[in-house]
Each structure stands twice: as C-alpha cells, then as structure tokens.
Subunit: 406 residues, 2 copies
C-alpha cells in the first residue's frame, strides 16, 4: 500500500478550460516518482468556500496534498483564506514573508501596495516556502494525518518551488519506489499494441499503461518494489518481443533523437525535401540539441515549381503522375541528397487535407522516399485524421523509414 | 446564477500525470460556451469505488456531469461498473450497443471477443450515444437532479461525441450565454499586457482572463448576459487601445492565418529561409488550409554551405559576421525571395541553445529579416527560455515582422 497523495488546483482559468491543468500532471509525476500513490486531482475556481471544501476533503484522505494557484496579490487569490476557513488557522502577516514579497517587488522596481502585502499573510503555524521567481511565497501546513503544500499557479514558479521544497521533503521519507520503464513504438496503433500484448501474462505487482502520443505509442511498465528484478526484466523482454521491430527504444529519447544519434555515431548526414509535411520533418530532426552535426539542409517544396527548381524533379513526372506519387517522392529524395551532398535524402509528398483528395488519392495519402548509398526506398501510407495529425504522423513514418535503413 | 456543471476524468494515465487532462479543458470550454458554469473537475484512477464516489459527489452538486474515460474493452475500464455501483443501476448487455461494437470491430477486420463485448454493457435505463470513430459507445444516465454524460477518454473520439451528442442537448436548454471575446496579441509578455490594462476599469458583470500561449498572449473578455452591449463594446475598445499595435486580431484565427489571409487578399506570395527555426516557420504558415495559395517555398538552411548554395549568402558575410548576424539574415531573406520569385522573403537565424552562445551573441539571440518590394527590414530580438520555446517565439516574431509590413 503506497502513501496516498492528492492534488488540488485552484483557478477560474483551469476550471473554465482556458488552460489545461499541466500543473497537476507535473506534480503527479513528481509525487509518483517519490513513491507516493496519487489517487485524485481536484480543480476548483476562485471561490473560497469551494477551495476550503476541496482542501478539507483531500486532507481527510491523503497523507500529502499539493495545491497550486490562488496565492497572488489580487482579490481572486483566495487560497490562504480558504486554508484559514478549512482548518481554523487565522491568517497573520508574517515579517519574513513580507520581507520576501518586498524583495521581489524591489527587483521589479515596484512598491508593495496593499494588494501586494496580502501575499505576506500566512495561516497560523504555516511554514514559509521561498519563491525565487515570483512575488507570491508558498507555504506548508501540517494538520493531523496530512501535510498540505501550497505553491503558486504560474507553472515556472510552481515547478521551481516543487523541486526546491517538496521534492527533498518527499525524498526524506525514503519510500520504496516503483521501477518504471517505457517501451516506445512507432508505426503501430494503440489498439494493435494492446492486441499484440493481450496474451502476455502480467506478473503480480506489475502495472501496464498505454499512451498514444502524436506519432508513437508508449507502453509504460511499472513494477512495485516487491517484484523481483528478473520477473520484471523477463516481462519487459516479452513486451519487446511481442512488439518486434515496431519498438524504437526502451527508456529512450524520442524517435528523432534515436535516429539522429545513430546518424551521428555512424558519421552520416541527412537532408530533407518536404511537400505535405512542410517543415515539420526538419523541425522534428532539429528538436535534438546538436542536430547540426547530422542535419545539413531541408527544402520545403510546396509549389511544383519549387520541386523542379530545388530538387530537380522532372516536370514530366509531375505531369504524368502528379505531385503526390511514387516517382515524385523518389525524385525529391534523390534530388535533395544530391543537392546537399548528404548520406541520406528523406522526402515526403502527400495530401494533408482538408481538401485536395481524389478517389484514387484520398486525403491522407502520403508517399515517403529515402535515398541513400544503396539506392532509394519508397513507402506509400494512408493516414486518417485532420490536417495537423496527418502531417505529424507522416513525420513519424518518414523518420521510421530512415530508422529501418540505419 | 448559472446552472452548475462538473467534469470527472477517469484513468491512471491522468491521475499519475502521464498525460495532462486536456479532455477536461475541452469539455469545460464547451459547457461554459453553452451557458453552464463549470465549478469543479475531478480526476480519479482506474478504481471502481473511487470513480463511483466521484460520480455520486458530482451528481449531488451539479445539473450536468460529464465523465470521460474508462469505457474501453480492457479490465481497467471500469466506468460502467462504477455507475452501476453509484446509482444502483445494474449493467445489461444492450443489443443496439453490441451492434455498434460489432460494426466498429468489423471495420477494423477483427472479431468481437469477450473483452470487446464488455463495451456493450450499459447501466439500466442509460441512453446509448454512438461513437463513430472508436469501439467504445458512450451513454447518458439521468438521475434525480442531474444528467450524467459518459464519453470515451481518447480525445479525438471524446471531442467528436461531445460535439454530436452533448452540445446539441445543451443548446436545447436555451441558457443565456455570456458573450466572450478574445483579444490576441503578439510580441508582448503576459505581465506587460496586465500592466497596460491595470488602470482600465472593468465594468460589473465583465470578467477578464489572460492566457499566455506559445507565441502570443490572449485576453479573454467575458460579459454576463445582463451587461449592456455598449458597455461591453466600450471596454473591449479600451483594451484594444491599451494594447495598441500588439493586437493582431479580435476573435480571429492565429497569427499565421491572419497574415496568410492578408497575403491571399493582396494576391501576394511568400517564401522562407530558416536557420534557427529549422522548418517551424514553414510549418506554421502551412498550418492554414489553402496555404499553397500564398506559400511557395521554404529553405531550411542549417549548414553554412546550404545558406550559400540555396540562398546565395556571400561566404564573406558568413566569415566576417558569423551565421547569426544582420547581414546574413538580410542575405537569406533576399536570396530566398529571388530564388522563389515571391513577393516576400522572410528569414530567421539565431542561437536556440542549449549551447552555442557567446558573450556578444548569447543563447536566444535571433536576427529576423523581411525582403519585399520596398527593400529589406531587419529586427534583432533576444528571447529567454529553452530551445523549443525560443524557436517557437522566433516564429511568432518573424510572422509579426511580416504582419507589420502588410
């Protein structure tokens, strides 16, 4: 049985959906990594009574409660008042909190007015937590059976304070931690991944989760402390075997990093010619720091004239087969490879939609080609979905074509 | 007093922080737009009793409860069981639900096994909601004082079903709706936006929210039904005046759409040459359907040789000033414009980090240039942050440079 933790998020912008609650996800990962078990998130708006009720409920169930938001200077920042109400701890202005607020305002060249001063009010007995990036101090309140942590809602400030104050305190608990491994796959749907894993026996104490990201599926295998290493390792091996060559890494970076580092290790280089993905392939490749070691040049050849001019696509191929065709994909890959003088040339051409589809080339038709030292490979795929996801998945498929050749 | 609504999200992947709960944000916006007031989100893991407790609590407070997740075929999909437990509605296999499940499996070429069949079990009296994208049907349950909607957790399926089933039902309630306007700004920080708006008096019944997106800040102005139109409009005018030329649109599409449509309306064309943004500028421009009308070609000139070869940058300029410099930015913009024969040539070169900075060109230094019919403009900016945000904000600044010229 793990120590239960809950997360409370506070703010109208969260509860009305203006922003997704990324704070809760960050805090949940931090708590889980420290060995706690997160059982619930709650988000409430700028309403003192609702915040107080959520905090009281959470403290009655969880050993640690982490709350973000509502610590700022304006009248809709009500978290301290809610703590006072929920736990009967009157607010008091604390000199050391006021000193921090004054120091932060001074750094911004502004005086602390009455609203700024509100941030120095802490519930009786609260432990002050320094905020080195913003004006609102955080605090910690211990009540019977539960420790409550209050952090600001600005993600940058919240994350910094969680790392500085919360993480060391949790580490000091010395909780046994689960071992977590992530198997990363490309070119396969989440449903097919689950199907292929269906007959594997999950050992007791191991939990499996699936997550479909833009161009990949991640399988998260999590073993409780009691699971023997060899049992865990054997199961991971079974998963890898079931998914075969669709696995591009275990606990690895993203596909573009795996491919990029392999190019670097081989001393090889890459250039890209993109029509339908229109820069997204180059953007993915250069997401990896140091990409200039292996990535030379990319051409976004949107207009047919650009395909001819920059990549030497024969006008006759365009006229005979259209821009979305195997001959044009091959000519793009070979053309950019010759132009850049790179080891590999990788090309995409397709119909991302929403318009432009025809009966024999429906929206989602994408031709990929990879030109290399041993000739040119081609793959035709059909992707389903809206314009952006089709483009993003075409990028994943192109990188996967290169991975297969390396 | 608005009709209260709550959102319940279900899944270990949410509660442990593997994914941020974007479903809750989407649903909150949909409910708020229909005139309901979202007061709470709750997320719980794959635990029948915890789901049942969350649903029971939510139904006791809210007129509408929307729950996503836990409807799939596997043993950790427990939402229907939780509904049965919470409201005393035994599960029964429903022929029309089974027919939908079978039709979806047939489309994927797979038989419905015992696990697939679980998805056809609905709580007694539930109304079936068709899922046209995935295997898991949704359903609606009416209990005294509350209507509960159950949708799958896969965002694409959830969104489609919310649009098809939930939105029309809410519209039929005919609730008075807030008027919401979004003022969109570029090239200005959230703090400065708030500072400039600080002395504006917000009329009673109007609420203002700020949201910092990747390369823009959005100001959301929301007027309750009782606020007279002229009061609301006057306040919006005050906001626009305070933010001046930093506003690129009110209730508009994103910056790339505003710029792209202005190019289209003027019958002008664009080509890009990117070093530090490495395809992200072309990707942003082509995010707009129909971009082939105004976007001709992009060059991702990562290596110096590519800058020379593709954009005609003088090697002497690279040698004397380095790749991140005003002369190189200007040469890139002019070179790609000449190459593509476009009205405008837009170029970026900078140091995205994490390494590569020097004392006089620190990480975050970006040179932008725009070549056009009346010569070439240049702008040097300094961006703070990690590699990806720096690249994304450089894209915003480049589009803003073009916006200024149109």
């Amino acid at each position: 049985m793990t120590l239960p933790a809950e997360i409370v998020s506070q703010g109208d912008e969260v509860v009305t959906g203006l922003v997704a609650d990324t704070n809760a996800a960050f805090l949940a990962r931090l708590l889980e990594a420290a060995g706690l078990g997160v059982t619930r998130h709650v988000a409430v708006g700028d309403d003192r009574d609702a915040i107080a009720a959520a905090l009281g409920d959470a403290a009655s169930r969880a050993a640690h409660v982490v709350c973000s938001g509502g610590l700022g200077p304006t009248d809709d920042d009500l978290t301290a008042d809610a703590v006072a109400l929920a736990f009967g701890l009157p607010l008091e202005e604390r000199p050391e909190a006021l000193a921090q607020v004054e120091a932060r305002y001074a750094a911004f060249g502004r005086p602390v007015g009455p609203s700024g001063r509100r941030q120095a009010r802490l519930p009786q007995g609260a432990l002050l937590l320094e905020n080195r990036s913003g004006t609102a101090p955080g605090f910690r309140v211990d009540v019977p059976g539960s420790v409550l942590w209050f952090l600001p809602g600005v993600p940058r400030e919240m994350e910094q304070m969680a790392r500085e104050h919360l993480e060391p305190a949790l580490a000091a608990l010395g909780l046994p931690r689960d071992r977590i491994h992530v198997v990363r796959c490309v070119g396969i749907g989440e449903g097919v991944v689950q199907e292929r894993m269906r007959d594997l026996r999950i050992p007791p104490g191991v939990r499996v989760g699936w997550r479909a990201a833009i161009a990949e599926v991640q399988v998260r295998v999590r073993a409780a402390p009691a699971v023997p290493d060899d049992v865990h390792t054997a199961y991971l091996g079974d998963v890898a075997a079931a998914l075969g060559d669709r696995v591009f890494g275990v606990d690895s970076g993203p596909l573009e990093e795996v491919v990029g580092h392999r190019l670097r290790d081989r001393g090889e280089t890459l250039a890209t010619a993109e029509s339908c993905t229109a820069g997204r392939l180059a953007a993915a490749i250069t997401r990896v720091p140091g990409a200039s070691e292996w990535f030379l040049e990319g051409a976004v050849v949107y207009a047919n004239e650009a395909k001819v001019r920059t990549c030497g696509v024969p006008p006759a191929a365009l006229a005979a087969h259209g821009a979305v065709s195997e001959p044009v994909a091959r000519a793009l890959a070979e053309g950019i490879r010759a132009r850049a003088g790179s080891t590999w040339g990788l090309a995409t051409t397709g119909i991302a939609g929403p318009t432009g589809g025809t009966p024999d080339k429906p929206v989602g038709t994408v031709h990929l080609a990879l030109a290399g030292p041993r000739g040119t490979n081609h793959r035709r795929i059909h992707l389903v979905g809206a314009r952006e996801p089709v483009m993003d998945r075409a990028v994943g498929a192109a990188l996967d074509l290169l991975r297969g050749a390396l």
